[in-house]
């Protein structure tokens, strides 16, 4: 296919998606859906292609290759692992068979537990420990007053925001207490709302960047 044909297709598809803005007009309303269905079909195809070419096939070839082993356990272990994965996946498909419920549930439990282990390790070592220590460590020494103040403010904001999370979690509905606790919660909530506002604005700017690219493409095509 020539460059021009491809550009034409790109243009048509862009317009089909944008036709959504025209709302529910006869015929036109189908254009958007056609584009989305094409998109879904292609996404599925590309996912399958990558999954097959870059996961299943190489893993399978590896497992068969006696010269290669990815653990110290030797290539026999590879075949065992690959076979186990195959078996487990097949068994998961048998879920509707009630009698085998314990088996599929056990496999599912393995999957869930592995995911949990990865999540725990990551959250602990990747986020919790570093962020908590960063929050707690203040540039007390040889810091300018301004920097110190800013660090204190961030610390205060983080702590109060966490407190407001905690408070919401441990009490149902609106709080009834007043005083210092409420003030802290308000500070924390304000920090979270500011963060969310910043995220919202950033999301607008991000998607607008993409909008400009599409509009630029349309103009380029028209020119």
């Amino acid at each position: 296919m020539t460059e021009n044909t491809l550009t034409l297709i790109s243009f048509a598809l862009t317009m089909m998606v944008f036709s959504y803005l025209l709302g529910d007009l006869p015929l036109i309303r189908h254009l958007y859906r056609i584009a989305v269905y094409i998109f879904i079909g292609m996404s599925a195809a590309f996912t399958l292609i990558v999954g097959y070419e870059n996961l299943l096939l190489p893993y399978w070839q590896d497992a068969q290759n006696p010269a290669i082993s990815w653990t110290a356990l030797g290539s026999q272990a590879d075949i065992v692992v690959f076979g186990t994965a195959l078996l487990f996946t097949a068994l998961l498909l048998l879920k509707p068979v009630t009698r085998l419920g314990w088996l599929t549930n056990s496999i599912l439990a393995v999957v869930v537990a592995l995911g949990a282990a990865v999540g725990i390790v990551g959250a602990l070592r990747g986020t919790l420990l570093p962020l908590l220590s960063a929050t707690a460590s203040l540039p007390v020494l040889d810091a300018e007053l301004g920097a110190l103040l800013e660090s204190l403010l961030v610390l205060l904001g983080t702590m109060t925001a966490l407190y407001s999370f905690h408070y919401q979690a441990s009490s149902s509905g609106e709080g009834t207490s007043f005083g210092l606790g409420k003030a802290f919660r308000s500070i924390g909530k304000a920090c979270v709302v500011v963060a969310l506002g910043a995220i919202y604005a950033a999301a607008i700017l991000s998607s607008m960047t993409i909008l400009t690219e599409r509009i630029a493409f349309l103009f380029q095509f028209g020119a």
Binding site: I9, S10, L13, T14, V17, F18, L21, A35, V36, I38, G41, M42, S43, A45, F46, L48, V81, A85, L86, T89, G101, W102, N105, A109, V110, V111, V112, A113, L114, G115, A116, A117, V121, G122, A123, T127, L128, L131, T135, V154, G157, T158, A161, L162, F165, G188, A190, C191, V192, V193, V194, A195, L196, G197, A201, S207, M208, I210, L211, R214
Partner: protein, 216 residues
Amino acid sequence: MKGWRTVGASIAAITGFLVGFTALLSLLLGDNPALFGDDPQAEALAQNLALPGAALLRLLVIMLALSIVIGIANLLLLHARRMAGGRLMSGILLASFAAAIGWRILLPGEVSLLEAIQLPIESALAALLCLTLVAGGARILTKRSDIWGLLLVLVVVVVLLGSLPFPELAPIAAFSDWLMRIPAQAGARAILLGIALGSVVVGARALLGQDRSLRG
């Protein structure tokens, strides 16, 4: 029957716990000889500790790869049925799937399909999101006319203004910068910590079999 179910659930919970705990220990302690002293033996121990975690992960990853294939097969079957039921759109989906696969088989290395079809659609859809977000942003106070709603609107407007490259808006940009640096950062950090804390709590519950999904 109920007794069996309990036994089954127990098997599942115990299996999950054993495997998960092994993986957890392996991931936390493996390949970290510093934990066991400083000699070659410790290094070997650390390496061996890392093995089960790595092997279990590999198992899971292959299962994930297989699940992709099954998931897509499911998608295709479903739409094939729908197409048989006379729904044209499902036919379009199947045709585009076949086209992409065929393209890859017949013209390996040819990339234009991705860049000429997927990219425009996905970009255009993402561009629509901009209109949605702005329209939603214009109605924040309609939804929540309280102090927090007002704060949200103000922050959105200030950050947007702060991003504009006009020298006249420098004071607003400075204020926006301050907002991002102090309160927004504190809030964001709290959100990140909250997510991580939640991760650990939910993960621990799943490991301990408190997750209902494992109880059959």
